[in-house]
Amino acid sequence: MKRGFLESTFVGFARVVTRAMISEETARRRGLLQALDPRVRVVGLFSLVLAVTLSRKISVVVALLTVAVAIAILSRVSLFVLVKRVWLVVLGFTAVIAVPAIFVTPGDPVATFGFLTITEQGLRTAAMLILRVETAVTFTTLLILCTPWTHVLKALRAFRLPKEAIAMLAMTHRYVFLLVETASQMLESRRSRTVGILKPAAQRRMAARTAGVLLSKSIELSNEVYLAMQSRGFRGDIQILSDFRLDAWDYLGLTAFLLAGGLAVWMGR
């Protein structure tokens, strides 16, 4: 049955909360990535993502995907979660984009079906695109699954981002869940008062009104947060505690990440 605005938006909200819970649970496990300093995780996995995008050979991208799976297993990340959340989803939307390229890319013909001609260049570009996206998204998901958001934020300080930007990212993350909860309650209360099926125009009005009320509530919330910050003596000077320390294992991990990335870039030229 086709879902209306209320039901499909609820599904979206539920997905956000579920993903956050899975991440929290995976980040607590004792595994390879979890044992490393968050800065090493961020720098290391970002460098592997960069290596994936820089590599020009399919074999090197496949090797990097194997490395990603090995890191996932050693970090006790459920392969079922990876298959469901990354590989199938990415395959779904990238294949739709990549498959026509098999036929429309000019090059050496491999096979002909009526007016459609498969070219070698088309096959290679489609395979490259799908593998590249799968591998890069796997590395990003490993970072997300194995690192609590607060640690990601602290690690981002290593990139010399302005303190204001870090503070806003931290606060936004906190209020995303509060506003998801608020919006869910508003929609739940509307659903409990709805009988029958709403027409699309009525659903659009409901969506716009919900968004409008949520906006007003957000502005009020920001005023309250501002006053709370004032009451605690906030004067615009943002302090971020950075109590991470690199030990020998972290240096070893960082070296391994950078070596793997560098080797992939060199071999994939």
């Binding site: 605005f5 938006t9 995008t53 590249r132 998204v137 997300i144 936004t172 502005i219 920001s222």
Partner: protein, 359 residues
């Protein structure tokens, strides 16, 4: 429209990160002139609001559904600088916490959706709603058109980014290394979905929220209305921060001659005269995996070559001897044309405080 990793080449990503960083820097600089203690929670909560609105699955006319971007309503309430930061933060959280959109392409996504989206939304909203009262119906229509244009402008820029990939990044045998489609396919493929569903979703949600705010909380619409008394949240363009943008534009213009440092001719972009030259044929043969070039220039190519002549053929006017100078002149012409167009549009924007708040 969230571009994942792998669709754009690292050099494209680097350029777009630089462009996005210029926008972020400029926006943060303008916001810092306001009370920082007030700005941090306001932008944060608004980014969270935009994140939630992006999850609304709107039923659209015709029986389909679509997701809004939320950039237009953020820009109308906070102004362009606030809109740029709030949407960028929402996009960063989507990428780094939920894995929607890539890390290498984060700059591109922020440039397309947050920066281009906010600027187009702001310009079109101000221009169409110029002089109307806060509660007028024209503001609702302006908000809808601004939303539609903002999303489509962002999609068009993304499509151009996709479309230039096969032209610039391919291996020796012509296999595209990143997004595989040329501009002639990427632009229509991208725009069909956005001209119909995504643009409409943004138009519906923006118009609906503006209509709601007109009735419930009109003060929130004041800041970008151009009406007197709306300066509280407005982030006025200041020549100091704009100067940095001009410096960046000038730097990019000066770097354009670097394009001629690339060896040889772009694969598949030969003119009939180049095709006839033996030296070029050798390069082509090596680039085309030893497939020999035709002995003579194909008749069809010869015929079509004269059909259209660009104003600046091969980016170098015929009267210019130096190619580097020709590149620079072409870039200056293009930037000059865009500046003239924006000044022309600016001429029709209302001056602050010319009309009184009557809502």
């Amino acid at each position: 429209m969230h571009i994942p990793d792998g669709y754009l080449s690292p050099s494209t990503c680097a350029v777009l990160y630089a462009a996005a960083a210029t926008g972020w820097y400029s926006a943060l600089k303008r916001l810092k002139r306001m009370l920082l203690t007030r700005v941090v929670p306001l932008i944060s909560v608004f980014a969270a609001f935009s994140f939630v609105v992006m999850m609304f699955n709107l039923p659209l006319p015709g029986g389909t559904t679509g997701h809004a971007l939320g950039v237009t309503i953020a820009t109308i309430v906070l102004g362009p600088s606030g809109g740029i930061l709030a949407i960028s933060i929402a996009l960063v959280i989507q990428a780094l916490f939920f894995g929607d959109g890539g890390i290498s392409t984060l700059g591109a996504n922020c440039f397309n959706m947050a920066i281009i989206g906010s600027l187009v939304a702001y310009g079109s909203y101000r221009m169409i709603a110029a002089g109307s009262s806060i509660t007028s119906r024209r503001r609702v229509v302006s908000a809808a058109i601004a939303g539609y244009l903002a999303v489509n402008a962002a999609a068009l820029v993304a499509a151009i980014e996709f479309g230039i990939q096969p032209m610039l990044f391919h291996d020796a045998r012509g296999t595209p290394l990143y997004a595989p489609y040329p501009l002639s396919i990427a632009i229509p493929a991208m725009m069909i979905g956005h001209l119909t569903f995504a643009g409409l979703a943004e138009a519906v949600i923006t118009a609906g929220v503006v209509a709601y705010l007109q009735a419930a909380d009109p003060a929130l619409l004041l800041s970008t209305s151009g009406l007197a008394g709306g300066e509280s949240l407005t982030l006025r363009p200041a020549s100091g921060s704009l100067r940095r943008l001009w410096i960046a534009v000038a730097a990019l213009m000066l770097l354009t001659p670097l394009g001629i440092l690339a060896a040889g001719t772009a694969w598949g972009e030969w003119s009939p005269s180049q095709l006839a030259k033996t030296g070029v044929v050798k390069v082509q043969v090596s680039k085309s995996a030893n497939h020999p070039s035709p002995a003579a220039v194909p008749a069809g190519l010869q015929k079509l070559a004269t059909l259209w002549t660009a104003p600046f053929p091969a980016y170098a006017p015929s009267f210019v001897r130096s190619r580097a100078f020709g590149y620079l002149l072409s870039a200056m012409f293009a930037v000059g044309f865009l500046l003239a167009a924006s000044l022309f549009l600016h001429r029709f924007l209302p001056r602050r405080g010319r009309t009184e708040y009557s809502g």
